[in-house]
């Protein structure tokens, strides 16, 4: 069983990275896409209901343990999980498959783009990590997402440090 899981991770993780990059390349080649042609997004799982007694910011943030997992960093204006960050996601998946924790994934951006676009790009980054974890066997119901866009930088002015997803777990 353990072998099968590891095998699945080993096969699926690179495929996901590859498929994200493929999509980006397709788009760049043909900017006049029709969005209906992307309806086959395979890994979409609806988000679970929120538990508002715990959150990433403001009320309930003291109940969140942000020390368990390291941030995952992203390339400029991209939500694809880059290969160098893959081990972090695999480590998260391994722990979340076996423990009883729930997790909030918070997506962030640098300040280089425009504000509202960044807010939604941050959400998409959080969702990229979420769908990868789901593909690695983590229950969708344990994973909530939130975006702060460019409004909560880790290091103001340091773009590469701010393009990230952060993780907070709670019981």
């Amino acid at each position: 069983m353990k072998f099968i899981r590891l095998f699945a991770v080993a096969i699926i993780a690179p495929l996901l990275v590859a498929s994200c990059q493929q999509t980006k390349d397709d788009f760049a080649a043909d900017p006049n896409f029709n969005s209906t042609s992307y309806d086959d997004f395979a890994n979409v799982e609806p988000l679970p209901q929120r538990n508002e007694s715990v959150s990433f910011y403001g009320p309930g943030s003291e109940r969140l343990d942000k020390s368990m997992f390291q941030p995952v960093y992203f390339d400029y204006d991209s939500y694809a999980i880059r290969q160098s960050e893959g081990a972090k996601v695999e480590n998260m998946a391994a722990k979340l498959r076996t423990n009883r924790k729930n997790m909030i994934i918070a997506g962030h951006t640098d300040a280089a783009g425009t504000s509202e676009y960044n807010r939604v790009l941050g959400e998409r980054r959080a969702q990229s990590v979420r769908s990868t974890l789901i593909a690695m066997g983590v229950q969708a119901a344990k994973l909530q997402t939130v975006s702060f866009g460019e409004d909560a930088p880790a290091q103001p002015g340091n773009d590469s440090a701010n393009r990230r997803a952060e993780f907070g777990v709670y019981d």
Partner: protein, 382 residues
């Protein structure tokens, strides 16, 4: 019929030049509106008159001048907390006489200015309009409101959180905005006449990017509860919203056409957000070819003819305009989140935390709000 070639040439010249010369005279005559604002009677009358003068002086085409036979006259008087204003045409007829009693004296003066401009030109100017934006005076962000020149600035929210992405309804009666006060990004609505507010959209994930429809009854926004950010249209009262898109891209920043039938937004898979247009009741979107790789934050002009938006060019975010009739994109200046004023001529945008007012015909821009870390402005359209 035997005319000399020179005479024929001269006649042709006269025929060509005469109507053009006439037209130029006509244009020059009608382009300048001379108006005199008479001293207003009553307490604070001179302050109110000065505001009307300032409004008219800054409106293209208007000149505060008295020229015999071609001058409009604005008359006013203060009684209690109301301004009585009337407008007299150059031929001596009273065109309107109204009482402005709502709110502050400054607000009344701006409404009088708005009516003067509308009566004479048949079009809206900027006076009487309101601007909202997300700003900060320290920790977190709140939503602020001010007049068209950045005056009478005040906070609308005290969320002690991140209050961002405001949209004010075209008539100025309603505000929708994103607040993290629950710990999560939700869309809140506020009745600006009564001050009451409610949480409109609080689905799992991120709820943001509200755009109130021209008739004030609906909100277009981005929600991500399905597992991917998509565009939705819901009621201004909240509740269940209808999905406009179902894709694997990132959709954001909707803006309504003035007739409410279409919505423009940006969509992309990272790196290449494009401007899209979709029916506000759903269907297949079409892409606008702007010639730029990065296109975000569109705002539809009240006359329906243009989109203001952001492009990235030379590493900087710039303000651009797409004109529907020609399909052409023009880049105007550096700046973020441009939005149109009610005259479909002026834009406001932010740069380095300041709000700038830009005349798109002359290219002149000036800061109207400074020191507030301002971003994401929205402007009433009437």
């Amino acid at each position: 019929m035997n005319k000399s070639p020179i005479l024929s040439f001269a006649l042709v010249l006269v025929a060509i030049l005469t109507p053009v010369a006439d037209a130029q005279v006509v244009i020059r005559k009608s382009s300048q509106i001379n108006i005199e604002v008479e001293r207003f009677g009553g307490a604070n009358g001179s302050q109110a008159a000065a505001l009307v003068q300032q409004d008219l002086r800054s409106t293209p085409g208007f000149k505060l001048a008295r020229i015999a036979g071609s001058t409009w006259i604005a008359k006013g008087g203060i009684s209690g907390n109301a301004l009585n204003g009337s407008l007299v045409s150059p031929d001596g007829h009273v065109r309107f006489s109204r009482r402005y009693s709502a709110g502050t004296l400054a607000g009344a003066a701006h409404l009088f200015s708005r009516d003067i401009i509308l009566e004479i030109t048949g079009k809206l100017g900027l006076p009487g309009s309101k601007i909202v934006f997300s700003g900060s005076r320290g920790k977190g962000r709140e939503i602020f409101i001010c007049d068209h020149h950045g005056e009478n600035l005040r906070a609308l929210t005290a969320d002690n959180s991140l209050a961002v992405s405001p949209s004010i309804s075209p008539d100025g009666g309603t505000l929708a905005y994103t607040s993290y006060r629950s710990g999560y990004p939700d869309v809140w609505g506020m009745n600006l006449r009564t001050g009451t507010r409610s949480r409109l959209f609080s689905s799992p994930g991120t709820n943001t990017g509200s755009a109130i429809s021209p008739d004030g009854s609906k909100v277009a926004l981005t929600m991500s509860f399905s597992g991917n950010p998509e565009l939705y249209v819901g009621s201004i009262g909240g509740g269940k919203a209808k999905a406009l898109t179902k894709t694997m891209q990132v959709e954001s920043s909707p803006t309504w056409s003035p007739d409410g039938r279409k919505i423009a937004y940006n969509a992309g898979t990272g790196s290449n957000p494009q401007l899209m247009i979709i029916s506000s009741s759903g269907g297949n979107p079409s892409t606008l070819k702007t010639g730029y790789a990065y296109n975000t934050e569109p705002d539809w002009s009240p006359d329906g003819q243009r989109l203001a938006f952001n492009v990235r060019s030379g590493g900087n975010i710039r303000v651009a305009i797409y004109e529907f009739s020609s399909g052409k994109t023009t880049v105007l200046s550096d700046g973020e989140s441009p939005v149109w004023g009610p005259d479909s001529r002026h834009l406001i945008y932010t740069q380095s935390g300041n709000v700038y007012l830009l005349d798109t015909e002359t290219g002149s821009a000036k800061a109207i709000v400074t020191g507030m870390r301002a971003k994401e402005p929205s402007w009433t359209k009437r």
